[in-house]
Amino acid sequence: MKNKKIYQLLTIAFMVFNSSVNAQGLLDKLNKEFPKKPVYEIATFKTTRIGLGHSIETRKKGALEILLYNRYWNIPNFEGQRFLADVVSTRYGLDYSFSDNFTSGLGYTNHDKITDGFVKYKLLKQRTNSRKGFVSIALLQTFSHRNFETTGGSIYEPLATSSNSYAFTSQVLVARKINSELSLQLTPTFIHRKANPLNDDANNQFALGFGGRHKISNHAAIVSEYFYVVNTITSVETYNAFMVGVNWELSHLLLQFQVTNARNFVEDTFITQTKNNFNAKDGNFHFGFNATFVLHTKKKKLK
């Protein structure tokens, strides 16, 4: 009699247990079915430039970027009556992505008459929730040609266009998206310039760039950049370039607003030849406005 009861109890207990196993959420079951694929971080910086210098971002294959970078500043004790700002410098640029990892671009700046170009290759992509791929790494090589007139040593020599005005910048961009809000970048930089007979400046210079982005809303972020130059040029006094600004994106249009002491747009010039410190004096205060329009020349087909 006793045994029977135990049996019945056991049976009931087992059935309850059985049904409870069965009732284990279908969703939990599904979650175990997801294939384990690496997930790469996206939007570490969103824009291909943090502000002054490049970020690790490259656009996907077929993306054409039309860039219009402006910088405004005042001339100290200027007598003129120019609208808004005394000087405006603009860089017109075009970047094209040949593959998801390889981008190339060209640009021309009207104020300092520098033609520049770059190739950029994304070497490593940071992975989410994985020990592999701790950082994203991109390699950047730029070249620039400066079309400036050298005032020759004596009055007997006419103004000549220098041909020794090439410069090359190599950068290793290392960035990590710390969390969804904060991304940081470290940029070891090597700059090589052709010897200039007029001064004794070093041909090779080393610098280290620091960059950061902090998201303030889903469409805007505060960005900042600083470049420390290890061996500064001796012919003129230079300062390290600093920038703080806001990046804002509107669908295909990416806008950057910034305040900085850098006047030039090309790496080798603004990193090593920024001749003013960062403050609000006329001539030192530069307002930057960058507009980038992204055009997708190749559209993905949805299967």
Binding site: L26, F34, K300
Partner: protein
């Protein structure tokens, strides 16, 4: 005999549970969504949606990774994940629901309401979805479409871009289920 009877029952219940296939899985379910506005049409497709169908309990569960959506333009993909759906915070969208008046015996296409909870962007909402269910031999095909309002799931669109993104998004889905083996 009396003692053995519950044991019998137990074995039968066990055996019954084992032999009869009551769960079906779709590993390559397709979910696509559309946003039509006069400014811009946005379309995205996810071909790796997982779904389980339990015909005993008449339950259906769907789970998908937001990062698996493919867009025509890459910038859309970035904005969708980063600015709108926030896929680093809410990587998945889920649905779990019951098929109302589901007839497992018929081989004809039946249109049924699936009532359940839809979770997108971390927000769960009670939703009724009209679906067409068809049984073919060992498999089930489930498809349908429905609309959601982006406001319901607290997906914020800045006023300056409100003309680019539709207030109601239409969603289309197709699943092909096969017997599920754990």
């Amino acid at each position: 005999m009396n003692k053995l009877f519950p044991l019998f029952l137990l074995i039968i219940s066990f055996a019954d549970f084992d032999v009869k296939q009551n769960q079906f899985i779709a590993r390559q379910g397709q979910v696509s969504f559309f946003s039509y506005t006069s400014v811009e049409n946005i379309e995205a497709k996810n071909n790796q949606v997982l779904s389980l169908l339990d015909i005993d309990k008449k339950e259906i569960a769907i789970s998908m990774l937001m990062r698996a959506f493919v867009f025509k333009k890459d910038l859309m993909y970035e904005h969708f994940n980063e600015s709108y759906i926030e896929s680093d915070l809410y990587p998945k969208a889920n649905f779990i629901g019951k098929i109302i008046a589901f007839d497992t015996s018929t081989k004809e296409t039946q249109t049924r309401i699936v009532r359940g909870k839809l979770t997108i962007h971390g927000i769960t909402k009670e939703t009724d979805i009209k679906t067409a269910i068809k049984k073919t031999d060992e498999n089930y095909n489930v498809s349908g479409n429905f609309d959601i309002s982006i406001k319901d799931f607290q997906i914020k669109v800045p006023p300056i871009l409100s003309s680019n993104i539709a207030k109601t998004i239409s969603i289309k889905f197709t699943f092909q289920y096969q017997p599920y083996e754990e």
